[in-house]
């Protein structure tokens, strides 16, 4: 592939990925309002369009046309930069997530992701670990006690749970022997005895999956770990002083992070795009992507389900849970996995 076609193909893929991701972000907000509404015996959005499907559009228009207030006494450069940092890192991590096999379109053979790198997982971890700056700087530059408390909580929580999150992934890495998300998915193909898929959760990584699940909820500041924005005590936490599009950027960052987490969970533990494939050629090409998106959707649904079900933790409970329960469990899981892999080989 010449450098010109490479650039053109990359730009096209980036634009498509961005549009799809932003639409997915908008509609996961809609999905959340709808599902939580039904859990709480309400209807959720119904007025704008059929089933309230145009609600995200209306919300977007509202965010754009609201007055953009900048409170006095904020540290302006960082106050403006913080939401941009948050949303940039949240959207960037999608670039190395594969959503399917290689495809050939118009004579060009290309992977179904923006770029295929051999350290994809590390890049995602790096980008998400930088995302904490958006939150931390927002809280600090707002010059408000609620914002600062929220930001301190958020950064402490994200740094703490990142350890358990990283350790829960190492078991999967040992089994696949690679940092490449594509190779990790390829290692999960096939079945045991013809009917149990060889996904990582069925190959002994079920504990790691639940550690990942809980740590990921904390990383994305979602209920039951949404203390950084606990509205009963902190108004809205780190984004208290933000309005209009700047607030929307934090909102988008949160949902984009949720989608990244869901994609990673599907790739690492649930077999990625493996699933029954058959029928004509076009169906064979589309089905892997469909299976993958189905898993991501399921994961997002569980996210929302948990939000509608569980109350919020206390902050000391959150820290004790992270350091005294999740971390030792993750280390134990890692040791057992390493032992089994070493004994097998």
């Amino acid at each position: 592939m010449s450098i010109e076609t490479f650039i053109i193909v990359s730009v096209i893929k980036t634009v498509i990925a961005l549009i799809v991701l932003l639409t997915a972000v908008a509609y996961s907000v809609w999905l959340e309002r709808k599902v939580v509404g039904h859990i709480q015996n309400r209807w959720g959005p119904t007025r704008v369009g059929p089933f309230g499907l145009l609600q995200p559009l209306a919300d977007g228009v509202k965010f754009l046309f609201k007055e953009d207030l900048t409170p006095p006494h904020v540290y302006k450069p960082l106050y403006i930069a913080a939401p941009m940092i948050a949303v940039t890192f949240a959207l960037t991590s999608i670039s190395v997530i594969p959503i399917g096999n290689w495809v050939t379109v118009g004579g060009i053979h290309t992977p179904l992701e923006i770029t295929d790198v051999n350290i994809g997982l590390l890049i995602i971890l790096g980008i998400t670990s930088l995302g904490v700056y958006g939150v931390a700087l927002a809280g600090w530059s707002s010059n408000s006690k609620y914002s600062l408390l929220g930001a301190l909580r958020a950064s402490a929580q994200m740094v703490s749970y990142e350890v358990a999150l990283g350790l829960s992934l190492i078991g999967v890495l040992i089994m696949a022997g690679s940092f490449s998300l594509r190779e990790i998915v390829d290692a999960q193909g096939g079945t045991f005895w013809g009917f149990i898929p060889r996904w990582n959760i069925f190959r002994g990584q079920i504990v790691a999956f639940f550690i990942y699940l809980m740590a990921a909820y904390a990383e994305t500041n979602r209920i039951p770990f949404d203390l950084p924005e606990a509205e009963t005590e902190l108004v809205a936490g780190y984004h208290t002083e933000y309005s209009a599009m700047k607030f929307a950027m934090f909102f988008m960052a949160e949902y984009a992070n949720m989608i990244t987490v869901a994609c990673l969970a599907s790739l690492l533990f649930l077999g990625g795009w493996h699933g029954p494939i058959g029928g004509p050629a076009w169906l064979r090409a589309i089905l892997p992507v469909f299976w993958f998106l189905l898993r991501v959707f399921g994961f997002l649904f569980v996210y929302i389900w948990v939000r509608g079900t569980l109350p919020r933790f206390r902050y000391d409970q959150l820290m004790a849970f992270g350091w005294k329960f999740l971390l030792p469990l993750a280390i134990a899981n890692l040791v057992v996995t390493a032992l089994i892999v070493a004994l097998k080989s």
Binding site: L125, L137, L152
Partner: protein, 172 residues
């Protein structure tokens, strides 16, 4: 292409380092340091050391600098006060720094191969680095981890208040 990218990130790195010194606000200085770390990671990536680049971002930019920013936020450190600068620094510091950098440049040019190392010629993939760390350099690696453990224990000892002083405080 590699050279252009190398120069771009080199300039960003140096600019970040200079900005770190010039900025008067601790948070701005910390952010400039993050820029330095990030551009260094990009340079490692250009050299084909993708694992080192990723670790640079995850550990330095993503964890250590978060703690820096965290501490600055907790202390609520204000703007630095400027001194007019000492005469000693002007007289000896700047010529000394220039002489040092010239010396270092000379040493690097004299005592290293003049050819640039090709991208990917040095160990880069995680597998190779893992093999080096856990096979060839196992003892230094483990000793370093013990060293870090000692540092952690030292921090715990320093941070915990001795029993007796707590009691005296209660009495007082």
């Amino acid at each position: 292409m590699h050279l252009i990218l190398f120069l771009i990130f080199g300039v960003i790195c140096v600019a970040g380092a200079v900005n770190l010194l010039v900025q008067r606000h601790p948070i701005s200085s910390a952010l400039s340091l993050i820029v330095v770390m990030g551009s260094l990671a990009a340079e490692y990536l250009l050299l084909g050391a993708e694992f080192v680049a990723a670790v640079q971002v995850i550990i330095y930019a993503g964890a250590i600098m978060v703690l820096f920013v965290f501490v600055i936020m907790l202390l609520n450190a204000g703007e630095e006060e400027r001194t007019k600068g000492s005469r000693v620094a002007l007289l000896f510091g700047i010529p000394g720094m220039l002489a040092g950098s010239v010396l270092m440049g000379w040493v690097l040019l004299e005592h290293s191969g003049t050819e640039a190392v090709a991208a990917g010629a040095l160990p880069g993939p995680p597998k190779v680095i893992g093999w080096l760390l856990f096979h060839d350099f196992l003892l230094p690696f483990e000793v370093t981890s013990v060293l870090i453990l000692i540092a952690i224990m030292g921090a715990v000892v320093l941070a915990s208040r001795p029993e007796s002083s707590q009691e005296t405080r209660k009495e007082g």
